[in-house]
Every structure is written in structure tokens, then in C-alpha cells.
């Protein structure tokens, strides 16, 4: 078995990271489907756009900050500054959770102002699109929590930068996706 799995060559990029790049293309298409449907519907009679809750500006700031912190975490990992890495990964996870919390507050505000699934087509689009994005963020937070636990694991030392690079790539993607969605809702509104 050892011989079977011997190394013939190394790849240009870790396969998981490469696969993630392709997955990013795929997820982008899903949001392209959602937002193009939104555009089609927004041109029909009786459409009333949703005013984006103010707290979503804070959401944007939080997710951008988390993107910066995971970038710094990657650098810390690369230079083996493990204490700094642990701190930055923890900060990223907290910022991610804060993002989801602010999203929830925003949804609640909208719901309280009678923008419900039944009463507003624009509102239901808004909930679904931002909700599906939030689900992707939750997926990223789970990855961050795993990294966090591995970083504090005293029994096994993990020094490969591939997991944090892959998680970082995903996190930057959900950050950019949010910025796109936020700008989209502001512009179309």
C-alpha cells in the first residue's frame, strides 16, 4: 500500500482548495439565478422594493473585518506564530457569528414592519437570498470552529497551511458575495 501511494509528483494547488474554487463558481451561479429572478420580477407591475435595514451596514463592516482577520490568521500560521494564529482565528469566528446575529436582527426588523413572505414578493426574495447567504456563512463558521479546535488541540499539532488557506478562500468568497448582494439590493431598491 505504501508503494501504491508513493509520490509521483506534486500538484499546483491542493486538490481541496482547487475543488473549492470550482464550488465557488457553482455557488455564484446559484446566486446569479436568484438575483436574475429578482431583476425579472422587479420590472413587473406592483413591485415594491424592500428598504435594506440599517443594521446590514454593520453586517457588512463585520464580515469585511472578519475577512481581514482570517487573512492575518493565514499569515500568522505561515510564519508559525501559533498564539497569534489562535487569537485571529477566534476573532474571525466571533465576527462571523456577529454577522449572522446582525442578519437575524435585520430580518426581525423587516418582519416586524409587516414585510412577510405572504405580503411582499420583494421581501420574500430578500429573506431567501440573504438567508441562503447566511447559511453559507454558517458553513464557514463551522469550518472556523474546526480550525479553532485544531489550533487548541494539545495532543496533535497541525502545521499544514492548506486547511486555513482553504477556509480563508471560502470566507473571502462569502464576504465578497455579501458585498455583491448588499450593493445589489441597494441599487435595485
Amino acid at each position: 500500500m505504501e508503494k501504491v501511494m508513493s509520490s509521483e509528483r506534486t500538484q499546483k494547488m491542493h486538490p481541496h482548495k482547487f475543488t473549492l474554487w470550482i464550488a465557488i463558481g457553482s455557488i455564484t451561479m446559484m446566486f446569479a439565478g436568484f438575483t436574475s429572478a429578482y431583476i425579472v420580477k422587479s420590472n413587473q407591475a406592483g413591485w415594491e422594493a424592500v428598504q435594506v435595514p440599517k443594521i446590514f451596514y454593520l453586517s457588512t463592516a463585520l464580515i469585511v473585518a472578519s475577512s481581514i482577520s482570517i487573512f492575518l490568521a493565514q499569515k500568522a500560521m505561515a510564519s508559525r506564530e501559533m498564539a497569534r494564529y489562535r487569537l485571529l482565528i477566534s476573532v474571525t469566528a466571533v465576527l462571523g457569528l456577529a454577522f449572522v446575529a446582525t442578519q437575524f436582527i435585520g430580518f426581525s426588523e423587516l418582519w416586524a414592519s409587516k414585510i412577510t413572505f405572504k405580503d411582499s414578493v420583494a421581501g420574500s426574495f430578500f429573506y431567501i437570498i440573504t438567508g441562503v447567504h447566511a447559511l453559507h456563512v454558517v458553513g464557514g463558521i463551522i469550518a472556523l470552529v474546526v480550525l479553532f479546535l485544531r489550533a487548541y488541540n494539545t495532543k496533535t499539532k497541525f502545521y499544514s497551511t492548506a486547511p486555513v488557506e482553504t477556509a480563508g478562500l471560502y470566507w473571502h468568497f462569502v464576504d465578497l458575495l455579501w458585498i455583491y448582494l448588499f450593493a445589489f439590493f441597494l441599487l435595485v431598491s
Binding site: 508503494k3 506534486t10 491542493h14 486538490p15 510564519s79 405572504k118 414578493v121 420574500s124
Partner: protein, 604 residues
């Protein structure tokens, strides 16, 4: 894109993939469960996809036999049918709701579970690592998940057949309002929910598979295997995966909106609906929006089904003609052109939805443009076999059958691609005949060709040739006898999806033809059972493969042991020195890709 130079990760502590694999597999003790059930070996996963796909093909085929009996003998009573289907066939006669449910299930499972998962899932999984020179997929774990998502989707779809209100019956396209309103029909209740959950899992399975296929082709090729040395099978699987990865998520978004319409009171697809004179509260929705989202996948889906068959036919035609493929780069270019155009033509399914005529003309133009790369492919296949030393193996016959069906089905596509003609032919049997020939049966032929050709690599034994010939000729003649007459019915305006036609004076004179089609369909179905017998019998009792490369092929899979283990090659992965189609060159019958190019060799 070349892999000839090794590359070090940008990270401080680099973990090359093989080392990663070693960690992952090297100390991995294989039990029965990890070897045969939850296997991460791409070859085992391929077989799992194939056998699950065969189960669905048999069931989907059986559904068609039952509803063809209804169309051929609308007033006859078959007591055995009541025994088999119970309430669905009360008094031995298929009920209308059951007819629609069977038609829906037939379309759903044949398109998605057989010709997508069964075809691409089997051969992409089996051939990509073997033909690019990789130990396994980029992520064997995700690959395993891909199968189990498919399996779970299958179980859920199957279970929908047993719910009291029946499975979904609104057609495989699941257009609203039939799919969005539980009140629309019995099948629109739990059956539709199960359909949606099953399809959602199926989409996840397809995406996981597609991600792996693309990553493996681009990132895991062996030394010397440049992109322009890839076999055409791999190019076809690659473009298929690209199509799937970019179009399935759009369908997924459409499904999410549908789920919300069904259960959370939203109005994405519903508006101004009255049930029993009572207006529903939905406002501002449009079923056309669903159609856009559906056909953005739905049309690429045609090529998700066709491209793998094209790739395998190319390979098999070249091997069995003992000639190089004609116009290799043109073949890749036409696959690429088809992939791009496949995304740009979806609205030709919607010419009768009130589409702006200017937009319609645009989609007519793009649709007809697909004829160009398709014609290039047909020309190149014919020139590949032209004056070849042809070996008429069952695989070769099915590959030739594929080309024949692709031509005849493709030609009728030119009629339907024109909006002016499509308005007349829309929703008639002409459409049924067209897509069954070009997409359904042609791709099925590609799949059969692949099974006959790569069976020795899959199981280390041969399929029985005599049974293979019977299988081919009955299926080939039968396919034309079933679908050719349908063109005439369609031209005469016979509509699709109808439960019975004998109550209309204008369609009564097709009764005899409907009987004829139904009888041929039953014969063709029976011969598929013969194939399935051949398949399973040969796994244990078939003639053993004794040579490593029984077809005298050039590609890398034939350099592995007769029964390759997990990891494919016992030693180093072979290095590639040439393309895959050096047949009949410099007086040699074939030159494998692993043979170094000699100084005195002529250029291909």
C-alpha cells in the same frame, strides 16, 4: 496548465497531495463496508452508480411499457395490472392519475437518475482517474458522498411511489402551478414534496461529482498528460461537469423558491389562481419565471446527457476502426462550442409562452448555431471510420448506432429550433420523437457502447457477444420503429401527455399505429432484460480477460492490471508521451500513450 513541472505550495509547511493520500489511505484498514459499501475507490463508486442507474432504467422502462399499454389499448383490461399496481389500475385499467404519475416518473428517473447519474456518474468516475493517470479523484471522500446523496435521492424518489396520494404527476419539468399547489392533483401533495427533496439531494450529488471531475482533470494529470493529449472521453466528461456545475445551482435556486411557494405562502410562481371559484391569496407571481430557471438547467441537461456519449463514441469508433480520430482539435473545439451554446438557448423551450418575438428570433439563431459544432462532430466520426479496418464488436455497433440516432434526431431539432414551426409542433408527438431519439436513445446507446467496451476493465470478464448482438439489433431497429412514426403523429397535431385518444375523431385513425408502437416498445423492453441478464451473469460466469489490453487501445486504463486495486497502478503512474490516437501509424497497429516518441517517427 502543463503538469510537467512540479510545484511547491506557497505555504511554509507543504503537504503534497500524495503524502496527504498516504496519510489518508496508507494505514487505512479496509473492511467489507469500506471496500464495497462506503468505498472511496472511484472504480467501486462508478459501479455503484452504474448498478443503481440500471435499476432505475429498468423501472423507468417498465413505467413506459405500462403507459404505452394504455396508449395502445386504451379500453382493454389487464387483470395482472391490477395485481401489480392495485388502485392505480382498478379493474385492470390504468387510471388517468396513475398514467400521469408514471409518465412523470419515467421522465424524471430516465433524465436524471439514469442518463445523468447513471451515465456520467459511472463513466466519469471510472475513466477520469484511469485515463488521466491519477490514483483517484481529487477528493475521494466527496466522491463517496456524491454516490450516497444519489442513493438517498433514489430511495426518497422510490418511496414517493408508495404514498397514498401517489407520486408527483405534473410532468418531469414540474411546472407550477401543478408543482406549487398541493390542491392541484393528488400527486401534488406529499408526492411532490418527496420529488423536490429527492431532486435537491440529486443536485447536491451531481455538484459534488462535477467538482471532483473538474478538479481531477485539471489538477491530477500524470506527467506528460497535457490537455491536448487527453482522450476525447475526458474532454467530454470535463465539459459535462462544467455544464452541470454551472447550471444545476440555478435549478436549485428555482427549487428553493418553489418550496417556499408550496409551504410558506410566497408568490414567486403563483398569481390569480382560483380553486373551486375561490381566489387564492397569491399575487405577482409568474410560472414563466420558474420556466426560465428550470430551462437554464433543462437545456444544458440535454448536453449533460449527450456529451459523455459523444466522448465515448469518439473513443470507441477510433479504437474499433484502428484509425486515429479525425480532427482531434476540431472535436474539442466543437465540444467547447456546444458547451457555451448550451447555456444560451434555453428559451427555445418557451417559444409559446408569449416570449417577445425579437428575443425569440435571437434564441432561434443561437439554437440553430448548435448545428454547426454538431455537424463537425458527425463529419469527424464518419471520416474516422471511413476506410477503417472496422471491428464490429457490440460496443462498436452501439457507437455507430449512436451516430445514426444523433444524426436523425438532430435533423428534427432544426425543425423545432425554428420558432415559427415550433408553434405548430409544440407539445405534440413530434417533440417526443425528437428528444427521445437524439437525447434519450442516442445517449443510451453511448452508455451501452461504454459498458460493452469497458466491461473487461470493470469486472475482468467479457460480456457475451451473441447476446450483445441481439441486444443491439433489436434495440436499434426497435428505436426507429417506436419513434419514427411519432414524427408523423406530431405533424398531424397529436398532442403529448394525453391519457387516451380514441374519443377524438381526428386521432382515431392512429389507433393501429399506437398499438404497433406499444408492441415494439414491449419487445425492446424485453431485450433490455436480456442485456441485464448478460451483465450480471458475465460478472461471475463471463469469459475471463487474460490480456491487459484486449482491444489494443492506446489509453492509460489499459496499462493497469487486469483487476486494478485502489490506487490503480501497482507501481509508479506511467508517464505519457503522445496523444491517445496513434493507430495505424508507421505500419504499427497501435502505439500506447506511454510509448516514447522515437526520432524517426512521422507526425500525426
Amino acid at each position: 496548465m502543463s503538469n510537467e513541472t512540479s510545484h511547491v505550495h506557497t505555504s511554509v509547511v507543504s503537504v503534497p497531495h500524495e503524502t496527504h493520500d498516504e496519510v489518508h489511505h496508507g494505514h487505512h484498514h479496509e473492511t467489507f463496508l469500506t471496500k464495497y459499501v462506503f468505498s472511496q475507490d472511484h472504480k467501486t463508486i462508478a459501479k455503484q452508480f452504474l448498478i443503481t442507474g440500471m435499476f432505475w432504467a429498468l423501472l423507468g422502462g417498465l413505467f413506459s411499457v405500462i403507459f404505452r399499454l394504455q396508449l395502445g389499448y386504451p379500453d382493454a383490461k389487464f387483470p395482472w395490472m391490477e395485481t401489480l399496481l392495485g388502485e392505480w389500475a382498478k379493474g385492470g385499467q390504468l387510471q388517468a392519475e396513475a398514467y400521469y404519475a408514471l409518465v412523470t416518473m419515467h421522465g424524471t428517473v430516465l433524465v436524471f437518475f439514469v442518463l445523468t447519474a447513471g451515465l456520467s456518474g459511472t463513466f466519469s468516475n471510472f475513466l477520469i482517474p484511469l485515463q488521466v493517470g491519477a490514483r483517484d479523484m481529487a477528493s475521494p471522500f466527496l466522491n463517496m458522498l456524491s454516490y450516497w446523496f444519489f442513493f438517498t435521492a433514489s430511495i426518497i424518489m422510490l418511496s414517493s411511489l408508495f404514498v397514498q396520494t401517489g407520486p408527483f404527476s405534473g410532468g418531469w419539468t414540474a411546472y407550477p402551478p401543478l408543482s406549487a399547489l398541493g390542491e392541484a392533483s393528488p400527486g401534488s401533495k406529499v408526492g411532490m414534496d418527496l420529488w423536490l427533496v429527492s431532486m435537491a439531494l440529486f443536485v447536491v450529488s451531481s455538484l459534488l461529482g462535477g467538482l471532483n471531475y473538474i478538479a481531477t482533470v485539471l489538477n491530477m494529470r500524470t506527467k506528460g498528460m497535457s490537455m491536448t493529449r487527453l482522450p476525447l472521453t475526458i474532454w467530454a466528461f470535463f465539459f459535462t461537469a462544467v455544464l452541470g456545475v454551472l447550471s444545476f445551482p440555478v435549478l436549485f435556486s428555482g427549487f428553493i423558491l418553489l418550496i417556499f411557494d408550496r409551504h410558506f405562502g410566497t408568490s414567486f410562481y403563483l398569481s390569480d389562481i382560483y380553486i373551486n371559484g375561490q381566489a387564492l391569496p397569491n399575487e405577482g407571481g409568474s410560472a414563466i419565471l420558474y420556466q426560465h430557471l428550470f430551462w437554464f438547467l433543462g437545456h444544458p441537461e440535454v448536453y449533460i446527457i449527450l456529451l459523455p456519449a459523444m466522448g465515448m463514441a469518439s473513443e470507441i469508433l477510433s479504437v474499433n476502426s484502428r484509425k486515429p480520430i479525425f480532427g482531434y482539435m476540431a472535436m474539442i473545439g466543437s465540444l467547447f462550442a456546444i458547451t457555451i451554446l448550451a447555456f444560451l438557448v434555453w428559451a427555445h423551450h418557451m417559444f409559446v409562452t408569449g416570449l417577445n418575438p425579437f428575443l425569440g428570433a435571437f434564441f432561434v439563431l443561437l439554437t440553430l448555431l448548435i448545428a454547426v459544432p454538431s455537424a463537425i462532430k458527425v463529419f469527424n466520426w464518419l471520416t474516422t471510420i471511413w476506410r477503417g479496418n472496422i471491428r464490429f464488436t457490440p460496443a462498436m455497433l452501439f457507437a455507430l448506432g449512436f451516430v445514426s440516432l444523433f444524426i436523425s434526431g438532430g435533423l428534427t431539432g432544426i425543425f423545432l429550433g425554428n420558432s415559427a414551426l415550433d408553434i405548430h409542433l409544440h407539445d405534440t408527438y413530434f417533440v417526443i420523437a425528437h428528444f427521445h431519439i437524439v437525447m434519450g436513445v442516442a445517449s443510451m446507446f453511448g452508455m451501452f457502447a461504454g459498458i460493452y467496451h469497458w466491461y473487461p476493465k470493470m469486472y475482468g470478464r467479457y460480456l457475451n457477444n451473441t447476446l450483445g448482438y441481439i441486444h443491439f439489433w433489436v434495440t436499434m431497429i426497435g428505436a426507429y420503429l417506436i419513434f419514427w412514426p411519432m414524427h408523423y403523429q406530431g405533424l398531424a397535431g397529436v398532442p403529448r401527455r394525453y391519457y387516451k385518444f380514441d374519443i377524438w375523431e381526428s386521432f382515431k385513425h392512429y389507433d393501429g399505429l399506437n398499438k404497433f408502437i406499444s408492441i415494439v416498445a414491449i419487445i425492446v423492453f424485453l431485450v433490455q432484460i436480456l442485456f441485464i441478464f448478460n451483465f450480471f451473469y458475465s460478472i461471475w460466469k463471463g469469459r475471463k480477460v487474460t490480456t491487459q489490453n484486449p482491444w489494443g487501445a492506446n489509453t492509460l486504463e489499459w496499462t493497469t492490471p487486469i483487476n486494478p486495486g485502489h490506487g490503480n497502478w501497482a507501481g509508479e503512474i506511467p508517464e505519457v508521451h503522445r496523444w491517445a490516437y496513434d493507430y495505424g501509424k508507421d505500419g504499427k497497429d497501435f502505439i500506447p500513450q506511454t510509448t516514447p516518441v522515437s526520432a524517426d517517427e512521422s507526425k500525426h
